[in-house]
C-alpha cells in the first residue's frame, strides 16, 4: 500500500535515479554516434563503450563522496587524457610515481600492523584488487568502501537488467 506508492514515484535525487538517467543518456550518445557496426571488432568496441558508460555513470552518481568512486573517476579521466595528449607525459608519470610510493608505504604499514586475525592477508589483497582505489587504502577504509561498492554494483546490475527488460520488447 504505502510501499507501493513509494515505488511508483522514485526519488529523483536518489543514486538509482541519477545512475539510470546518466546511463540512458550515455547509451543514447553511443547509439547516435555509431553507424550500425558491421565488423565484430566494432561490436566488441561498442560493448566496451557500454560497459565503461555503466561504471562511469555509477561513479558520477556517487561523485567524490567515496574513495572508490574518486579512484574510478580519476582513472576514467586519465584514460581520456592519455588518449588526447601523448606528449604530456610529465604530469601523469609523476602522479603514477607518487601513487606507487603510496602503495609501497601502505603495504609496509599494513604488513607490520595488520597481521591480525584477518584470515590470511591474501584475501585482503584480493579485495584490494577488486575495489577501485583499493591498493592505497588502509584496511579499515577498504572494508568500508567495499560495503558501499558492493551495494552500488548490485544497484547497477538491477537497473541494467531492468533496462534490458524494457528494451527487449519491441
Amino acid at each position: 500500500m504505502n510501499s507501493r506508492s513509494l515505488l511508483l514515484s522514485p526519488n529523483p535525487n536518489s543514486l538509482k535515479s541519477r545512475f539510470t538517467k546518466g546511463l540512458l543518456r550515455a547509451l543514447s550518445r553511443i547509439n547516435k554516434h555509431r553507424q550500425q557496426p558491421r565488423s565484430s571488432r566494432e561490436i566488441r568496441k561498442r560493448h566496451r563503450l557500454i560497459k565503461a558508460a555503466a561504471y562511469g555513470s555509477m561513479a558520477s552518481s556517487v561523485g567524490n563522496r567515496r574513495a572508490w568512486s574518486r579512484a574510478l573517476l580519476w582513472k576514467i579521466r586519465n584514460q581520456t587524457r592519455r588518449g588526447y595528449a601523448a606528449t604530456r607525459n610529465i604530469g601523469s608519470s609523476t602522479r603514477q610515481l607518487s601513487m606507487k610510493k603510496r602503495i609501497c608505504d601502505l603495504q609496509k604499514g599494513n604488513n607490520s600492523k595488520n597481521r591480525v586475525e584477518v584470515g590470511g592477508l591474501g584475501q585482503v589483497d584480493k579485495l584490494r584488487r577488486l575495489v577501485p582505489g583499493g591498493q592505497v587504502m588502509h584496511t579499515c577504509s577498504l572494508l568500508e568502501e567495499t560495503a558501499h561498492y558492493m551495494k552500488c554494483l548490485a544497484t547497477q546490475v538491477k537497473v541494467m537488467t531492468r533496462i534490458v527488460e524494457v528494451y527487449n520488447i519491441p
Binding site: 538517467k21 557496426p37 557500454i50 591480525v116 586475525e117 554494483l153 538491477k158 541494467m160
Partner: protein
Amino acid sequence: MSSRTTRASQPTEDEIKELILKLQALLPRLNHRPNTKASASTILEETCSYIKRLHKEVGDLSQRLSQLLHDSAEFVEVDEELITRLLSNIN
C-alpha cells in the same frame, strides 16, 4: 578512546572484525541465517567472489545492451516517464 589519533595507522582488531561482520549482512549467500557468524576469512572470500560475479554480470548485461542497440533502429530518447517506468519495479 585512543582511536581518534591512531585510527588511520592502527586499526584495532575489533574495528576490523566489526566491519567484516557488516559485510556479511550484505552478502546474499551468507545472510540467510543472520545470527550465525561466519568466519572472517569466509566472509572475505565470499565478498571477493560476489564482487567478481557482479562484475561479470555487468559485462554480460553490457553485451546484451549492445545487441539490443544493434537490433533496434533507434533508441528512445531519455525522458522522465521512461525512467519512472524503469525504476518503478525495482526495490
